[in-house]
Symmetry: D2
Subunit: 351 residues, 4 copies
């Protein structure tokens, strides 16, 4: 098969537009050849379990899966009885971007709460955390938070802890959608463990794809008492990879060195560079804190569409003109600078 695309073209649309990090690809090559037991009894999945325990503690159990929606739905199903409901931010990926998979496949009710910045707090949780024992109400038995959030913000360790303490005091379990957990840890300068296991999170969707994997995520059960039946849930929900060695090898490559951190730090730094430069342009308003690898901004009408003729990115809120610019492990300084130049030029033209 011959190459069909330009390997030097990059956008600010999504960290899913980026490809596979060379070290991850090298791991796939190493893991290839010969036979390995399918469905997770291979040597790479065994190694992954060790690596994960180093990051998340001895009680952590890891279940590689295909994608983030899968990781989220499995995690929540494993935490909850059939009648459970999940308190989450209105902007949570599980609420807005998964075509109802948590409801339809997970059989869960989501109790969504509007937030300022994509982050839940004990007070916000309380808006939906009530009605236990009332059979008419879907029972709020878990909280789901996203780290870093869909709005580019980051929960600090004490904020995660406050959410977990509060949830646990209400006998609710805590799930973290960590599709961009590495970006949060890089942003805070802490070990991933500090904002997950040590802060009281019960189960984690660990994200690999957005941080340089070809594909692959993992459900990480941090509190084994809270999670039930993951082995069966993974299969019955169609998230069990037969040649699992290739998912696990990628995750090992990401996590047994500091690749996860290097890539995340770099993406964050590129976002900061973009935010700083854009912020200096007349007519651009940065709308949210840039704490991870996403920049949110409002640009004048028409500018976004003209800019998109050269650089793909997404509208966040068409009503306000807010757009999202996303950086990834392979975004370069020149990419950022060229993009800002193009933005500056469009702004000049539009005056």
């Amino acid at each position: 098969m011959s190459r069909l695309h330009d390997p030097n073209m990059r956008t600010f649309a999504s960290d899913n537009y980026a490809g596979t990090h060379p070290e991850v690809l090298a791991a796939i090559v190493e893991a290839n050849g010969g036979h390995q037991i399918s469905y997770g009894e291979d040597d790479y999945t065994a190694r992954l379990r060790e690596v994960m325990s180093e990051h998340f503690g001895e009680r952590a159990t890891t279940f590689p899966v295909f994608n983030g929606t899968g990781a989220n739905v499995l995690s929540l199903q494993s935490l909850l009885p059939r009648w459970g409901a999940v308190v989450c931010a209105e902007t949570a990926h599980i609420n807005t971007d998964e075509n109802g998979a948590p409801e339809r496949v997970g059989s869960l009710k989501l109790l969504a709460v509007p937030t300022e910045d994509g982050k839940l707090t004990p007070e916000l949780i309380d808006r939906q955390a009530w009605g236990w024992g009332d059979e008419h109400r879907a029972q709020p038995l878990a909280v789901s938070i996203t780290e870093s959030t869909e709005l580019g913000t980051v929960y600090r360790a004490e904020e995660v802890r406050a959410v977990c303490d509060h949830a646990h005091s209400l006998s609710m379990a805590v799930h973290m959608d960590g599709a961009r957990l590495a970006n949060a840890a890089a942003s805070l300068g802490v070990a991933m463990r500090e904002i997950t296991t040590d802060a009281g999170v019960d189960i984690l969707s660990f994200g690999g794809t957005k941080n340089g994997l070809l594909f692959g995520e993992a459900v990480v059960v941090l509190n084994p008492e809270s999670s039930h039946g993951m082995l069966y849930l993974r299969k019955m929900n169609m998230q069990l990879a037969s040649k699992m060695r290739f998912v696990s090898a990628q995750l090992v490559a990401l996590l047994e060195t500091d690749l996860w951190l290097r890539s995340a730090k770099h993406a964050n730094a590129m976002a900061a560079r973009l935010r700083d430069a854009a912020n200096r342009l007349d007519g651009v308003t940065i709308t949210r804190a840039t704490e991870a690898n996403a920049v949110f901004a409002i640009v004048p009408p028409g500018i976004a569409d003209r800019l998109r003729e050269h650089y793909r990115f997404y509208d966040w809120n068409p009503a306000t003109g807010e757009v999202r610019w996303m950086c990834s492990f392979d975004t370069t300084e020149s990419d950022v600078d060229a993009f800002v130049d193009a933005l500056r030029a469009e702004l000049a033209t539009s005056r």
Copy 2:
């Protein structure tokens, strides 16, 4: 990440134990680098659609997914209303190996029929195809067949056609689980189209993983009138790959040359070699026709377990002592010969 396994060790357990074909891996490398639109608007998915149309006809529409269970459930959901039921062989993968995913996620009822050889016929379909309009009965509105079957047999084109004609005469749609479609086509010496599109199949789970992909299958809608909402079903059932270019590039590599056929032919030939050699051994009974890449045999009590100390393979029926030996694209003649030698030695010892 360093290699953790012996790349020269091979077994007869499953075509899922094999790794990734070098040409497929090369395609992944080619598809890497730069940004490509996620979720299927990339250049490799566009190319895949062309390639698939060459194989399956102009009306074919292709939806890459993660795994075979996913492909099967999505296919069946897209064919059927909420109250639909599926007539299938009792030995069908959807009935025996998917932890109830068709029922639990697909909301389908399976109406299973015992068969001699894993193959449905119009007569066998009729055992469950009745009761339309009776609200108490799950409505039999689709037939699912597996090509090649879970028992290593192959439907000839006219057999598929007979199933499809009969099903269509009853207003039922036909799904084919083609996890090993390539092996069937190789066995029959026909184009894949002859046993799918041209024989009247409405929707196909096309298998890549068992034929040398790292991972990746595709739902191929052959009859667009029969299938509804695949775009949404794929996402809501957690089978939508974000970096889809890497699924598509693998399938392109498999299908734009004759790689699919070479690999399948080879696996079939190795199975035939194994069947022929084993058949000549006293104490071994070949139990089923070896039409694709699986050999089924009964060996004396104790032999299988001792042999398994060196070569992994699965029991098929513990009650009768029947075992399954599976060959894959990377099985060598020496692998087969060494295995048969080992089997012969165990048989000699056991006398």
Copy 3:
């Protein structure tokens, strides 16, 4: 079996606390005796279809079911494909009081919108009605409104029409939860048809239980083109009564005379009487328009609980002290007056 309760005790808790209207009970007695075909082929269900057509038009098709949650879930499932979502008011019964049945059993995503008075408008619908064709978003393909609403307000015919016209212009179907449709029609002084069929509603949950039936509701398909598979959906969702004659006979009794209207008018009048009297009391604030049979009020802290020692009713919003007083077909003027007297006495005591 001997009587265990006081048949003269009545509360203001819910129209579900009331029993069965004598005319309805008489209909059950008439329908008893001998054999009738089960599951809906009986003479009373045939008669019900005629009666319903008189009320809702020639195209109306009626499916008796057990309860309101059942009617709602069946209606929505029949309108929507597996990937559909429903725009509804945040206060809708389907969103707040059905323990997630629409999501869990119906496999639907609800897209809830905050409202002032429990009523949707085209503008409010637009807050969630977007994203068609985006596979990541549950597809908004229906609107559900409640008539009269959970907040005791009533959509006028032109308001229903505006919702339906807007929904239809977006290719969305309209469901009406008519658990208290009779109260709305009585309040507006219109035929039920004017606020359902003639206003463009596609499918109706017609409520009987809250208007004097022992049990029993009906799904009424008003627009046959919009609804699919109700016969099968009813059975597979466990809402098919075997001795259906007894559900149908009750509904016939309610609807072939003006019983539905007499009972609804009376309940509304009792609510108006209560609202007027309570409104004159110092310390009581009527919080919502009393357009049907529910009165919402804020009473001083402590008053509600003391009053509840004699009269059962529910808190609506514990944070604000808002309570709900519900009248039913059997509420008497003396009941209302005695209740107001008791309230007045408590208020006096608390000063």
Copy 4:
């Protein structure tokens, strides 16, 4: 509403064709009037709990529901985790007559076993009870038996005990579909407790409708350790009656006197009378043991259809000409005798 049917016409089609027993109707009348707390906190439901404990033991907990399919699905859901499967007879109502409700709503996989007489045994259970720990297989964690069976046979106490002991030894729970439990107890001359609680059954669908109720069944949790979340499951699966007093009062009427036994004994006796008389006719073959209220027979081609011009009943197996004749609490000796006369006459004509 006026009577639309002939209260003196009776058939042999189903015990669901019969109406409501006068004592049951009287109980509804007694329970009417005034207000009672809805959703199960009423006085009649409290009384029902006492009555049920007298029949089924102190640990029994009772949940009135609408219908038998509901009782079955709720029971099985409460016994099983999301990945559970149920071993049942191929002829079980849950497998053949509920339009897939256990799979679609309950998210259960059924593992059906062919039987001679509708009854499972430890040996038959073992055909499907295997594969625990294998994530590919739906996990067999419950057994469901029907008492009396769909084929008119009855498990004796020791047979139920053998099933329960065997299931429990495999860590499987036992559900009994007792739609016609009363007929079984009457047939055996034992207390219902002897073939349920005392024999080791964990949860029971107790049938009322087929034994003279207007409508109404109950889930009876016999072993509280085996069942989880029934309160929530009932609501979210749309089986929670608002005016529950009327379901409970009927069940009280059935069970606080010997009405349940009188009615069941009578229906059984009528079936025995019919079987004996038909058995003496040339050309009629009784095909199954008549142990409860159903008679199965093969009659010559054409006879059944001509007989049906006067008496409604169902084909059981169109291929063999087997029909089912069902007796109910209101079947009279004259009904039976007239039916046999008609059958005799048709047989004579056909010679």
